[in-house]
Point group: D2
Chain length 153, copies 4
């Protein structure tokens, strides 16, 4: 991971466990999911697509609410979808937004939701033009809180 | 809607727009979805299944998090799933839990999430043995806040 | 509780346990709290003020977030404040918004947060001009989910 | 910031803008706030205390809910309290839990809530015995999403 002194995200070398074809499938899936975003309040559509360890893709979009705190992020939608169909082992997630300026980055809550299902995620962050950078969950949520802190699972 | 003086839910006559076969499909779908609940913290599995106005069923389960506020309810999972696949018009939802004593009832947040997508929902609430009662969203969230309060859509 | 066929809130007779002076103090407190709302996204300021059973008032406002789901409602702020100063027994809450058209109504999530701390709340809902109506939590969240469903407290 | 290869938090040198006396006041305040935690579900009390740029301290605890996603973290309670009393400029937060093994770390959602109010936070993370380590928000939420991504404030 590299980032310059202003905290701007910089592309890093690809050390992914995903092959280039899988990455492209993920990026396409999150771009498509973005089209279904229900975001009349923020007008900020986001799409996410995750890859299970056995190669399945689940995607999601943000689903907002007039009571703003009751909305849901795209990444969480993708996770909930996968879990509700019996998948809890993941290897990667890709996220797309419409920004020409910024790579899509998950909010802190979404980083924590990913963390629930493991420390080892590859994360692909895309701009509107489809260019992307690769991070890991450890890059984005260092020194994380997790299930082991509760000592119950 | 009838309820006795202690607020216990009582079965009401079926005035549903759903036919008996659709209701049984919904009840079966939410019972199946419950099996995928990720709830190591509450150990309280919940399943939900909703019916779109064009007859499709989407189901979901609760997906919890070691940081409890970051969990998601079954009803929200079902909604997010449907929306992320292009469906935003719904007519009914069924909810199942493992309680032998109580019918599954949606929390206030889930009632509000349903409300985002319309006032007219039939809601089927099931016990573990499969018996159920029927309510409407208006029964469960009267005098609701909604998108029109913000005057933006 | 009365409401007409369109679900519009109608004033009801005051059967409150609060005296008129306490109600006015609550209404003033929630109006003042509204001034501190941090709501650059919704531009919809809300204030809430609650009354403990021993006569103390705690107030709060909404506190939003660029990641919309991470915002907090005014009612929740008031509750968290009171709890964090050792108060968990409440009798009433008043809520104010800037609408000239609608009485402030709590979202479903806030109704559930009130419910955590008891079934018996008087709720005063104010418009921008200070006129208000009185409801109870039972009016606004009938057949509610609550702690007893989990059988753990 | 230093952390070993397993991601365990390691004490780092104090480069804080807070003086030692202020740090001790913050640590005491979050320890005291922890006593008011309402956490019958997780049984995991947390306290937080933040310092405004003009030297005021606001503290909070976690406030849980039978519907787990409707709970609130201690850090958020402290922020909401400060904002609702007119303070939005902060310099530091301290967090305490009852763990003998782990330093208290904020969840991802709380990191995002801090981020809403600026990038430059000193964060003090305490164990049950009062020992602590110092981090910054940049350490804990690198490459963060924030208000500027929405281009609206
Ligand atoms: Zn998010
Ligand atoms: Zn719910
Ligand atoms: Zn609310
Ligand atoms: Zn937190």
């Amino acid at each position: 991971m590299e980032h310059n002194q202003h905290g701007t995200l910089q592309p890093t070398g690809n050390s992914s466990k995903c092959g280039p074809e899988q990455i492209q499938r993920l990026l396409a899936a999150c771009r498509e999911a973005k089209e279904f975003a229900y975001c009349p309040y923020s007008k900020y559509p986001v799409g996410a697509a995750l890859l299970t360890t056995d190669g399945k893709i689940f995607s999601g979009c943000n689903v907002e609410n007039a009571c703003y705190p009751l909305g849901a992020c795209a990444e969480q939608t993708a996770i909930q979808k996968a879990v509700s169909e019996g998948h809890t082992k993941f290897q990667a997630i890709a996220i797309a937004c419409n920004s020409k300026e910024y790579y899509a980055v998950p909010c802190g809550a979404c980083r924590q939701v990913l963390r629930e299902f493991g420390r080892h995620w590859d994360i692909y962050l895309a701009k509107e033009d489809g260019t992307y950078i690769q991070k890991t969950l450890e890059d984005l949520l260092p020194q994380s809180f997790g299930p082991e802190h509760l000592n119950i699972i």
